[in-house]
């Protein structure tokens, strides 16, 4: 058989066809089809959940100071889900989006996995992995050098909190070392705390018993947007024991305003005037709680001091705030002011709260004083449904620290931020003043070494440019952050802490009237990386520094310190996960105040700043000056908070960013809210790109027309515009702190900026 080309093709084709026909009758194609389908399910990058034994570990969320109980679900020991802990007194099972997506902080790519030493320029992102020994030796070496030069006070530490044993341990380190500069960011809590101190003479954490109130006037507080203890606040909207009326006073229709019974649009920054206007109506119509005002209060009417000088009383002052005048300031009609005042005073359990949005910016002392006075007018101080201050609990105790001569000299130096000075006697922390103080210092920076833990000042301090400039002048910056945040990425050394699910920590939280809950955050997983508990790091540093500092830290590790500090409470805390302390005072004592007059002082006699000595110490509405001239900057920019975005030292978990509407963030560009009328005047349409300029900085934004914002006002959310962390977080939207500066309250030094002038041009 001769095979030529043609027959070869013919036979070959026949063979192939036969093969094809035969294969149809064989199992191969059918089986392969099925197998290929299954093969595609098992590609290595397809996530497969862990399979195995399911266990639960209760702990406490420490992502914010809220202290919500959490229940972590683990499969084969791997945390896979975080839920709210049902029987925890703080949140009763509720949990905010941040708490729910907390596992992304544990597993996410922004973790710092070992100690790092900066290699390139600051912020360049070039790091060298170093051993713990090397990193600790380098840092303590520099700290020892500072002390040897007799300048221990030039060490500063910025932390996230001053509550609980970790902050106290760090505070103890600073004391033994010789620096008074333990600084944390001040929040609205600080302003309210100061107002309570001035009126009641009591130092403590202010707690509104909001669950038991039935008429809530919120002066811009984002009850549903992360204000207070978010997990606790959510419960206000669920099963309400008693029906509540929530009146939201703010210039923008926030989620909280949308869910309130009534939203009252107010000119931004004029809340103090409204509070005093409400007081005017309540006093004029004699709707105030006479029992409280007559028996337990001082300075309501005119009074004469020991020098024979007559001072105005609160009632005299309030006379000036007529509905008509207040209406002109706030933009709220006189009729609305009157009806709001009447409804508030007539409610059985009214309460007024303040702290804009999350409450990250303290606001003016006058504002907090005016609102505290409003609460006092209806007599709801230290009682169910009212406001009380819970004293710093002494549940944890440790031996006094002995310090050497160098430390003693250092501790006698004034605080760098001016808190507690003659100018700001009642303020404890003034982080907002730090950049300006460093930048304006002649010669060397007054801060030579900066330790940062549980804080991200490079992102959170208003006016990022000034902050960066100040940090550039600090020779040594050490971050203890478990995440590569903005401050960590600008540090010289990173000594990474365990992430919040890997570390032991006590979490004290004030809840409701006179109740304090101390919870124990217990590690739910062994540390995944080469990290070290920040408490252990400080104990190690203290021991390396030797002498009195070493003696102040006789404990092997943080756990040893915690056990000793809690003594007999430790076992209970370990077993139950939390302990409750009741600070309830018997009735007569609740209305005895620690002020000079032993009464609630409508006229705060303790307010003794230079200005107040001559003028009245009574709260007054003075417009908060905002930066920028009206000619160049015709609009006013206000930042706003949302529960779906984290504006504080932590950044969003990527899951949270997913929940953000495309009217807030579209791809990488943030959207700016503007009233359609204002937009029309500027020739802007929905979705237009625009350049936003403020005296502090500029940003490219997209325009979003929103009826829920007052004309002339524009708004941007806090919590976007990160430059560090990971690609899942960085470069999305803009950080409002790059656009807004801080404005010092002359009475307290606290930041009271609520916005800034701005200009918007289409590009």
């Amino acid at each position: 058989m001769k095979i030529d080309r043609r027959s070869f093709l013919t036979y070959g084709t026949a063979l192939v066809l036969g093969g094809a026909a035969g294969s149809m009758l064989s199992p191969a194609p059918w089986k392969l089809t099925d197998d290929v389908a299954i093969w595609t399910q098992n590609w290595p990058w397809t996530p497969v959940p862990e399979d195995g034994e399911v266990t639960y570990k209760p702990s406490v969320c420490t992502l914010c100071p809220g202290g919500c109980g959490i229940n972590v679900r683990l499969v084969n020991g791997r945390p896979v889900k975080i839920k709210g802990l049902k029987d925890h007194p703080v949140n009763k099972g509720s949990l905010c989006p941040m708490g729910i997506s907390g596992l992304q902080y544990l597993y996410g790519p922004s973790r710092v996995t070992s100690p790092l030493k900066r290699e390139g320029k600051r912020g360049e992102g070039k790091w060298k992995k170093v051993s713990w020994e090397e990193a600790l030796a380098a840092v303590t070496g520099k700290l020892a050098e500072l002390r040897a030069n007799g300048r221990p006070q030039s060490l500063a530490c910025i932390t996230g909190s001053d509550q609980g044993t970790i902050p106290n341990l760090i505070g103890r380190f600073l004391t033994a070392y010789g620096s008074p500069n333990y600084i944390r960011a001040a929040t609205a809590q600080d302003a309210i705390e100061q107002a309570i101190y001035l009126t009641q003479g009591k130092q403590g954490t202010p707690v509104p018993d909001i669950e038991n109130a039935n008429f809530i006037i919120s002066f811009g507080s984002g009850i549903l947007d992360g204000w207070g203890l978010p997990g606790r606040m959510f419960n206000l909207y669920g099963n309400q024991k008693t029906p509540k009326k929530i009146i939201q006073v703010e210039p923008r229709l926030s989620d909280t305003a949308a869910k309130a019974n009534q939203w009252i649009g107010i000119n931004p920054g004029t809340e103090t005037a409204l509070a005093l206007g409400l007081a005017h109506v309540i006093i004029k119509e004699s709707l105030y709680n006479k029992d409280f005002v007559e028996n337990c209060a001082f300075g309501f009417d005119e009074w004469t001091d020991e020098n024979g000088k007559t001072h105005d009383g609160f009632a005299t002052m309030a006379k000036g705030y007529t509905p008509k005048k207040v209406s002109q300031i706030t933009g709220i009609t006189p009729a609305k002011i009157k009806s709001l005042a009447r409804a508030f005073a007539r409610a059985s359990k009214p309460i007024a709260i303040n702290g804009r949005g999350h409450g990250a910016i303290p606001g003016s002392i006058d504002e907090s004083l005016a609102i505290q006075s409003l609460n006092a007018l209806v007599g709801n101080i230290n009682k169910t449904g009212g406001i009380s201050a819970i004293p710093d609990s002494n549940y944890a105790k440790w031996p006094e620290v002995n310090i050497d001569e160098i430390a003693s000299k250092g501790m006698q130096q004034p605080r760098i931020d001016g808190a507690g000075s003659e100018q700001f006697p009642n303020t404890r922390f003034l982080l907002n003043r730090l950049p300006e103080i460093i930048n304006s210092a002649q010669g060397e920076s007054p801060i030579q070494a900066l330790l940062v833990t549980d804080a991200n000042p490079m992102y959170t301090i208003p006016d990022t440019t000034a902050t960066k400039k100040a940090f550039d002048r600090i020779p040594l910056i050490v971050s203890f952050s478990p995440y590569m945040d903005e401050t960590a990425s600008y540090a010289d050394y990173i000594l990474p802490n365990h992430s919040y699910l890997e570390r032991l920590q006590d979490v004290p939280v004030a809840v409701g009237i006179s109740r304090q809950v101390i919870s124990l955050a217990q590690p739910v997983i062994q540390p995944a990386y080469d990290t070290k508990h920040v408490g252990d790091t400080f104990i190690h540093m203290a021991k390396s520094l030797g002498g009195f500092i070493s003696k102040a830290f006789p404990w092997d590790n943080y756990e040893g310190f915690l056990k000793e500090a809690l003594s007999d409470q430790w076992r209970k805390l370990k077993k139950k996960g939390m302990i409750e302390i009741d600070h309830t005072l018997p009735e007569p004592m609740a209305y005895t105040f620690n002020t000079v007059s032993t009464k609630f002082e409508f006229y705060p006699t303790a307010r003794n700043s230079a200005k107040q000595k001559e003028d009245s110490a009574l709260p007054a509405y003075t417009p908060v000056p905002i930066e920028g001239d009206t000619q160049r900057f015709q609009l006013v920019l206000i930042p706003y908070d949302s529960i779906r975005l984290v504006g504080g030292y932590m950044a969003n978990a990527p899951f949270m960013t997913k929940t953000v509407d495309d009217t807030v963030l579209k791809k990488q560009i943030g959207l700016l809210e503007i009233n359609p009328t204002t937009a029309r005047g500027l020739g802007l349409k929905e979705g237009n790109l625009a350049l936003l300029k403020t005296p502090k900085g500029e940003a490219t934004v997209k325009v979003h027309l929103y009826e829920g914002i007052m004309p002339g006002i524009i708004a941007l959310p806090r919590g976007l515009g990160h430059t560090a962390y990971s690609k899942y977080l960085a470069d999305k939207g803009c950080n409002t702190n790059t656009l807004i500066g801080s404005i010092e309250d002359p009475a307290s030094g606290l930041d009271m900026a609520w916005g800034i002038r701005a200009k918007l041009t289409r590009i």
Partner: protein, 231 residues
């Protein structure tokens, strides 16, 4: 090329006066293909692919692996009080523990109890260094399938043998045939590559979706809804 061409070729050759001619002689001198030769090649193709599909393909598709330890189920079953559930137990929350982990074995096997080389190997290589045995699971299913042992064993009172065969009385582990593409055991598809006929008595039942559906149809009258297993 289609069958029409073939027919044409055949019809030209099949003229009435050339009935007795042998096809080869006609085909040879010309370059024209003989229909029979074409058919023969076609059949070679058919037979070849049938043979490779039915015999060679299964050989190539599955790799043969042995278990890390030659486990003796029979010995263990004799020594435990609670049958299969002594080791393959239900957890408190009702979930099924599946293959026992080292913790379950360690109670008895902290040290070798016999001089069986497999037991000594188990203790030396796994128990002492604390390494989990990488058992090859004949019944492992893809992750997209939800299966509750509780519903079947406790709820429907089925015996382990009814699906897993008489593995419990085996004295040696058998060869694990792993599908090279999917990574799953041949047991899931069933030993018969055609999936025809019934498995031998004592063999595990195949566990493809249709097998689940078939049993559910017989036992409950309904094949079941998608989301019951694909949650």
């Amino acid at each position: 090329m289609s069958s029409t061409d073939q027919n044409q070729t055949v019809s030209t050759e099949a003229a009435p006066d050339s009935v007795n001619h042998e096809p080869e002689t006609h085909a040879a001198p010309s370059s024209k293909s003989s229909g029979w030769v074409v058919f023969m090649f076609f059949m070679i193709g058919v037979v070849g692919s049938l043979l490779s599909g039915w015999i060679l393909f299964p050989e190539l598709l599955y790799s043969k692996k042995t278990q890390p330890i030659d486990f003796n189920h029979a010995v263990h079953l004799d020594n435990v009080s609670d049958g299969c559930e002594s080791c393959h137990y239900f957890r408190d929350d009702g979930s099924f523990a599946g293959m026992p982990d080292l913790n379950s074995c360690i109670d008895c096997h902290e040290e070798a109890q016999t001089d069986d080389p497999e037991e000594i190997k188990f203790v030396d290589e796994y128990v002492t260094p604390g390494i989990e045995v990488p058992w090859l699971n004949h019944s492992k299913q893809p992750d997209c399938v939800f299966f509750s042992h509780s519903a079947h064993v406790i709820g429907a009172d089925m015996s382990c043998e009814s699906c897993h065969g008489d593995i419990g009385t085996s004295e040696h582990t058998r060869v694990y045939e792993e599908n090279r593409l999917t990574g799953y055991s041949r047991d899931i598809w069933g030993h018969s590559i055609s999936r025809l006929g019934k498995p031998k008595a004592g063999d595990p039942l195949p566990m493809k979706m249709n097998d689940c559906a078939k049993c559910h149809k017989e036992e409950t009258g309904h094949k079941g809804a998608c989301f019951q297993c694909h949650k």
